[in-house]
Amino acid sequence: MKTSRRSALQTAAFAGVSVITASKVRAAEGGDFYVARNGRINQSFVTWNFRPLTIPELAKLAVKFGVKSIELVGPEHWPMLKELGLKCALAGSHGFAKGFAQPDQHAECLKVLEQRIEQCAAQGVPSVITFSGFRKGLTVDDATKNTIAGLKKIAPIAEKHKVTVALEMLNSKVNVEMKGHPDYFCDDMDLSIRILQAVGSPYVKVLFDIYHVQIMHGDVITRLRQYKDFIAHYHTAGNPGRNEIDATQEINYPPIMRAIAETKYAGFVGQEFIPVREHVKSINEAVKLCDV
């Protein structure tokens, strides 16, 4: 008999509820929604993609759905998160349009990152994002050298404060705003890892965005196993489209989450998809899909 993924998940969810009292109570109080309960994957919400939901609204949803973090938000939001018992798993810094591939942008990025690392250290935020920026006609070799040089400047500060700098790899293929970034330099996971190896700091790692990796490379589970020691953070989204992460798209998230858990990953997985359906329902479904 064929069991659909959805019904299998519902069965699993039901079995989970029956043994975990706290979840049971919360589920009973709030009606029909899923509360993360397995504890193998720490989930987080990115916020820009869930507009018009506000950051405080998303924080309340995180609490309700058993999600432990709201990320890529500035320090002004951190006290509110702390009050709700939430973390900020990943701090924002400079935007993706600027970065270490361009030597003339090093000073500006370093300034933003240095200040943000100090804030992270003071308030228990474990990591901060950074980007390569665009290639702008540079050869891959030159852009690689520049990025290594820039990250080497930030590495001692990251090490001193024990805050991880996460370099994000983005896709340069999809020419649709916020779904891809043509000419973004760091668009290759293998190259990203070579850059990190050259930097050689345990506090400079990569942000493995599953959506971007699927667009540029595929072979997601093999890559995340291969590069587990270099991964600071994960992001999700459905492909194609960067929308819901369910069965409407090609990436099968539950086995990927199981593979992540098997690498003993202790960090967070940030939901970064742009819902096309009812936001709260889609967010809850995503929480359930990743709670393996």
Binding site: Q214, V220, T222, A247, Q249
Partner: protein, 295 residues
Amino acid sequence: MNPVRTRRSALTQLAAGAAVASTAAALAERLAAADAAAQVKINHSACKWCYSKIPLDDLCAAGKQFGLQSVELLDPPDFATVKKHGLHCAMVSFPQKDGIGRIEKAFNRLEHHDTLVEIYTERIKQCADAGFKQLICFSGNRAGLDDETGLKNCATGLKRILPLAEKHGITLVMELLNSRVNHKDYQCDKSAWGVALCQAIGSERFKLLYDIYHMQIMEGDVIATIKARHQYFAHYHTGGVPGRNEIDDTQELNYPAIMRAIQATGYKGYVGQEFIPKREDKIASLKQGVQICTV
């Protein structure tokens, strides 16, 4: 009485209970036709080599029970067996002589062309006699050959046999394989290269086999690639990633979504299950694969 009143049962009752039997039957027929038109079904095929310990006769008999319509990658001696079961062979296996024709040694080398022309000429005629429409072929390994020269050489060799293929209505289909895990150094390992070869050849009788497993390993972005390049894809293969096993929830691809994308291109061909069953009951795994791809 069945609490679920299907359209068919409702119509049957209507037909039985009134003097409008012929009208109801006509209506039922029209509804069925409309349903069929709305949903181009995926045609199901399975690769014989994945079930090497099961006699072909048994594989055919079992497969028919759950909707398998073809067993593929067969050599001519097997044609009679599938035909006996009323099944098709959606992709005929490659001919070979002195190792030429195999995955590693094929069309990208000029020195293979005379042999390839000879063996493909015979195989095309065998396909035509059997009524099978598609025949697999390979690029061969790079072995130091750059991609541009390899492409040019493939085009040169294939053009020598395409007139015969065109005459018999047989499509030569070059398979895209991964060179990261299974076929190190294989040249036709990226869909862009394959599409460029199709364009260089410019015949409807030369296309690509988009193997979803191999291409997920090499380039990802499966649905977008199918959407953009399906006019060059004559056939599809499946397999779970990583591992090439069952295509279910143990691996990273959402096959139903990919099948819907293939359907949306208006594809009327077959999808060949080409995973190596890991579980004990291999036929049950094949049945599951067919069900996952029934969308």
